[in-house]
Amino acid sequence: MLTNYIFIPIAAAFIAYILNKRNRKAGAVITALVSAYLLLSLTALYGRWDITQSFNLSLMGYKIDFLLAVNPLSWLFAVMTAAISILIALFSINSQENFKFSSVFNLNFLIIIGSMIGIVFARDFLTLFIFWELMTWTSFYLISAGKKKMAGRAAYRYIILSAGAAYAFLMAAIFIFQQTGSFAFDSAAEFLVANSPAQSIMLLLVISLPFIVKAGIFPLHIWVKDAHGNAPKEFSPFLSGMMLKIGIYGMIVVFYQLSFFKIIENTIAYRGLPLLSYLFALLGAVTIITGTILAIRQEDMKKLVAYSSISQMGYIIIGIAIATPLGFSGSMLHLMNHLIFKSTIFLALAAVIYRTGTTKMYEMGGLIFRMPLTFAAYLTAIIALAGIPPTNGFISKWVIYQALIEKGYLFLAIAAFFGSIASFMYVFKPLSTVFLGQLKPQHQNIKEVPLLMKIPMLILILVIVLFGVFPGIQMNIINQISGYLGIETVNYTLYSIQGANGAWNSLLIFNIFSAGFIIALLLFSFAKKSKLVGLLDTYSSGEYITDAESYHYAYQYYRPFDRLFDNLAAKSLTDFYETLTKNLVRSGEGLRRALAAGKLQNYALYSVLLFVILAAVGWII
């Protein structure tokens, strides 16, 4: 029964809410248990790609079929959702001790899990829409529950964008429903292929709007920074790791299952790629660049990582849009890997926030001595994010580069390389300012986080390295997905992937790196130790140091670099959208001041005027 996967978490949500009112840890425990159950039962579902389930409903005179089915693609997303939920729930058992909204958190979190599984199992627009809305609404409350006042505004912006896009989606879906008499993807795809291409393309673009919003793709990315930056610290990993990806899932559905690529196949092309696909790839490239530049400017570590998520989504979009076997595989790899290392980063940051209570990087420093495991998790994750072997992040980026170079998309490749190199700039910033440098006096007594919070981070570190060495595990399911979607598969073994011009052998690289690591370790242990001095004992040319912190520069870390892009960043899209809404608001304000001025005489006059005007209209017509 596929419905079990959806409704068990949703039902458990209410239980978790009630129990959590009694015991602050109960909610997270239930979330962890439910996610574990989901993961286990999903494993049992592996390979059984023929399971479907449908409900026929005659709703108010509309004949509606609700279709659920499992396929490799949806299975992968469901498993990812369940897996990351376990880790986050484990983490939040302890971290939510002082969280005011922990009941609300678990209620909404479980509903989100259920609805996300509903989204990926849905085989028709209406089911998809229902769970999509459910996810949007519950995540709105979750983001609102964030600590700062800004969280409210962020959630607000998020829901407005999402709802607008979702309504557009609903309109297109109902339009298709009226043509075909069914909401099912299959019949919609048939209709769209047979229909006039211009209309089909318009419809599909409208349908992909909510996915673009959710995936945070330029120019609808403006909600991402504030929402991810201000959401509760335990939710940020999920938001960034998983909910952005559900947008990508939607894009894949639009591109392949609703035959977007098939429809645009014969339109004008650039280097063998239809212009519209190229446009999507370009959007991806722009997303990479803007995300990266803006990430470097951030002083708030969570917002920084949020922008980094935007830019990483760019890679995934590029790979999917260019639609080569390598591109698609690279995207899927990167999608999984981004989930893994981005949740690691957010969890590590959550651990830091748990102990220090701040997200401003310049208020921290030297935490490596106090929170070594958190540091290790962060370090591993940023190495993966920057795409350095032997971590998983390198492999996925390598495959995407291969795909770009194979086809010779120069601009896209440049953007991808730029993002990769510059990403090291922004991930190094928290590393240096939060973990390295001088420990702040107010953080002298900080301890490492409790065991239950360490476990998820440890697991994630291991997974990063595991997938870095054996990408074949991921390639197995990816090839099944490619086969399912009708894309050519890529040759691979457990530890190597065949690219366009050469293969990647991760085992070899891993061995080399290990050897290097061992040599370095030996050198480190046998070489003469440097003298340990106190952190505040800095060389100062005979001056007295009154304020030790000022020697650890953390504020405006990359000022010279930022200055290059000051002009660009000032022209923010957010301002544009805000002007737009402001004008709308102003029109309402003007209307109400003019019309509802509290004058009885005016109100009486309106009725006479209405009569006269309608009579005149009737006369003329």
Partner: protein
């Protein structure tokens, strides 16, 4: 089956004997009001299956249809009567915990409004419709003034606008009578085609203005925000839950059954669409929560009028479903907002911050109702929103659909502002003691979920009501068929 006349007669009887009950026991008026509305609901339920089969026609005074005044209770009237009496019932439960200064007079007027609105939807006579509208409005004028000070102003404005409306309506009735020679709705409908087109045009417009005031159409609706803001909560509730529903019913009856012409429906469509977008835009501006709800309420009325006047069966059904939902949701919104307001001692939205943790039931009620209006899946608003979009696309009204969805986005913006304030901001004010509203909130929440998860619950009445509206020939046949 029980005689349906009782639905009008019993509340009127009870209302005028209210001072006597008050003399017997101070608490009695509340209980009597509750019992009367409950009785009305029972009567309606007892007649439910028969009305679903065929409309019940009651000739008052024992005369035949065109001569005497008759009551016509078809599926549509039944639906509207259920809405009206259901709203009154829920609000009577709410009133149990309220203390009004002159409570015998309050309940007198409260039952009068119920009787008047029920009469509006059940009558088969044009002048009788006018009388019931007047009964309802006079009761509403005086009920509004119960809150003191600013409510007098609101009441006076409503009275003057309502007075103008009644003049228009009466004029329309006069013209109709002079042209047709009868006041029976069915008879007018049967011979409406014979009326001189110019006269018909003017008459229809007179009715549009006269009834449009009750149905809260732009630009006749500027009394609405004043009234909803200042009147006691129960009055705002019954006005938006019951009286406006009766207004929509009257409008639909006149423009579908009496004068079925596409041009009039087009007027209504445009007016409704303007009301919708204007109401939402202005509601977004409000700092006062009740005023915000009022503007949202008239925006919803505009939506309902616009959708119903698309004229297809699906559209009418969608509009009627939205009407049902709107009544349920707005009552919940008003009573929750009422409690929140009295807890904060202020109507300003900013002062409600953080009340979610203190006034749990009210905040929950507000949130659920807001989410219902915004169309969250598994709540009733979702189904009606789906039906509305579907039917308006079906009628090739692309622009209207976009407008409706735009309005929905604006709606999200201002409702969620309040919800966020309630739950996710810190408490700023000292919380005062308030009435307990658990029972009405639970009842209404059950309805919201019930209709959201299993909308088939009212699919049959809706379908029949829509069919009745669309096909005015059958209405004429049922009433005059016996001749």
């Amino acid at each position: 089956m029980v005689n349906l006349t009782l639905i009008i007669a019993i509340p009127l009887l009870m209302s005028f004997t209210m001072p006597i009950f008050k003399m017997l026991n101070q608490k009695l008026p509340k209980v009597i009001a509750l019992l009367t509305t409950a009785f009305n609901l029972l009567v309606l339920t007892a007649n439910f299956s028969q009305i679903m089969d065929s409309a019940i026609i009651i000739e008052l005074g024992g005369w035949q249809a065109p001569l005497a005044i008759n009551l016509y209770v078809g599926p549509l009237a039944l639906l509207a009567a259920f809405l009206i009496n259901g709203s009154a019932f829920i609000l009577s439960i709410y009133n149990l915990t309220q203390d009004y200064k002159f409570d015998d007079k309050f309940y007198l007027l409260f039952l009068m409004i119920t009787a008047g609105a029920s009469g509006m939807v059940m009558t088969g006579d044009l002048f009788n419709l006018f009388v019931f509208i007047e009964i309802t409005s006079i009761a509403a004028y005086s009920l509004t003034a119960f809150a003191g000070r600013d409510s007098y102003e609101a009441s006076f404005k409503y009275l003057v606008i309502g007075g103008i409306g009644s003049v228009f309506m009466l004029l329309g009735i006069g013209f109709t009578y002079s042209a047709v020679g009868s006041l029976n709705l069915a008879e007018i409908a049967a011979s409406a085609g014979l009326i001189n087109p110019l006269l018909l045009q003017i008459t229809a417009l007179l009715f549009l203005i006269g009834v449009g005031i009750e149905a809260e159409l732009f630009p006749l609706n500027f009394w609405v925000p004043d009234l909803y803001t200042e009147a006691p909560t129960a009055v705002s509730g019954i006005m938006s839950g019951a009286v406006s529903a009766a207004g929509i019913y009257a409008l639909a009856r006149i423009f579908f059954t009496l004068f079925p012409a596409q041009s009039f429906l087009n007027y209504l469509l445009y007016l409704g669409a303007i009301t919708l977008i204007l109401g939402e835009l202005i509601a977004y501006q409000q700092k006062n929560i009740k005023r915000m709800l009022a503007y949202s309420s008239l925006a919803q009325m505009g939506l309902i009028v616009a959708v119903i006047s698309l004229g297809t069966e699906g559209a009418v059904r969608a509009g009627l479903f939205q009407l049902v939902n709107h009544s349920i949701l707005k009552i919940l919104l008003f009573i929750s907002a009422g409690v929140l307001i009295s807890a904060a001692g202020s109507k300003n939205i900013d002062d409600l911050a953080g009340l979610g943790s203190k006034k749990k039931t009210a905040a929950f009620g507000f949130t659920i109702a807001a989410m219902g209006i915004l169309g969250v899946p598994f709540l009733n608003g979702f189904i009606s929103k789906f039906m509305i979009i579907s039917s308006s696309l079906n009628a090739d009204q692309f622009l209207l659909t976009v407008l409706i969805l735009l309005a929905a986005v604006i709606e999200i913006a201002y409702y969620l502002k309040v919800v966020q304030k309630l739950y996710f901001e810190d408490l700023k004010i000292e919380v005062k003691k308030t009435a307990v509203i658990t029972i009405p909130v639970v009842l209404l929440t059950l309805m919201i979920f019930g209709l959201g998860i299993y909308p088939q619950l009212i699919a049959d009445p809706l379908e029949k009501a829509a069919a009745e509206l669309i096909n005015n020939g059958s209405y004429i046949m049922t009433v005059l068929g016996g001749m």
